[in-house]
Amino acid sequence: MSTPPLTAMQLGLHGCGVCGLVSRPAPGRDEGRCPRCDERLVFRKPASLERTWAYLIAAAICYVPANLLPVLTTSTVAGASSDTILQGVVLLWSPTGWPLSLIVLVASIMIPSAKILAVAYLLIKVQRGSVKNNEQCLRLYKTVEFIGRWSMVDVFVDTFTAALVQLQPLMSVEPAPGLFFFAAVVVLTMLAVESFDPRLIWDASNPSEVRHG
């Protein structure tokens, strides 16, 4: 097998996350700042793994009430009933409505759980230094980063349903406590993805010593 390629860190070069300029850290006062755009430069985000774990664990904890508690309460003259996210999916399922039901199922149930699992997988791989395939891990990270926002769909569905169906005393829909936890899962997983530094993937597959200067 050929020798693994050098990383910019091993060459003592900084890449700027904002403007893309690659520079050598300037000595003295300007150290750690991008000469072009003044962004703080770091070889790797500080405490990236710890912060990602923290967000991820918080998201996993919120994931339980998000799925068990109702997100909407519907009050009619006949009485009130509450629906969880999964019940909402079942309610939407009909001969004509199944594509929508599928969208909600994927966006609200499959994406958040897949996201938590995928980020945990990346974290464990990087921590154990056992990354076999850099490109595959990076692709997984990019995919999670790209699809994460779509979990917000259910929050918007519930917002507009509750805003529109206000026909007291005939029928009214109100948001229920589960919505808060569900929104928290979406935001916490997005923050987890953002605090993970994908450059760590290369360190985990290339654990040679850092060469400064």
């Binding site: 904002v18 893309g20 690659v22 939407l92 507009f160 509750a162 997005m190």
Partner: protein, 175 residues
């Protein structure tokens, strides 16, 4: 850069109108109700979901406004031969606002809500629905036509004022 400027102006106008006209209206047994995006946020707040209301306000109203606003300022400032240092800050904020601007996600949510409610009431799509629909395509069009590198290549540097020889920055040249 001119095309980006034109697209951004269009997006700004659509955005302003879309937030002031109804998004969805409903009629059932002679009763009517309609809502805007802000109306939805207000209802969530009244119903005791303040945190979620703030999140919806941020992702559906504030972040898109910032995204369009920063892009307007960037395309405006980029007309100078040598864009000023503060343009770099605007470009950074533009990138951050894009992460949290979720117009396209909101549109999907509205469509699902529309079909859900259509089961027991007549739902009338409002003008804002179509304007937001146009924004869903306009915002990525801005992103595609805008090349940040074009600005970064000409921008005034924070350190040194003029862009030095690339070799100096990399520290490849000695003495």
């Amino acid at each position: 850069m001119n095309r980006t400027f034109a697209l951004t102006i269009a997006a700004a106008i659509l955005y302003l109108i879309a937030n002031s006209v109804p998004m969805l209206a409903l009629t059932v047994v002679g009763r009517e109700a309609s809502t805007t995006v802000l109306g939805g946020v207000q209802q969530l707040w009244v119903d005791g979901q303040e945190v979620v209301a703030a999140l919806v306000l941020f992702t559906a109203v504030i972040a898109p406004a910032l995204q369009i606003g920063f892009m307007l300022a960037v395309t405006f400032g980029a007309h100078q031969e040598r864009p000023r240092k503060w343009m770099g800050k605007l470009l950074r904020y533009y990138g951050a606002s894009r992460t949290w601007s979720m117009i396209e996600v909101m549109m999907l949510g509205v469509l699902v809500a529309l079909i859900k409610i259509a089961d027991y009431a007549t739902v009338i799509p409002g003008l804002a629905l179509f304007l937001f629909g146009a924004l869903v395509f306009l915002l990525p069009a801005i992103q595609v036509s805008f090349d940040a590198r074009e600005v970064w290549d000409r921008i005034e540097w924070v350190r040194g004022g003029m862009s030095p020889d690339p070799g100096d920055v990399l520290g490849l040249k000695k003495g």
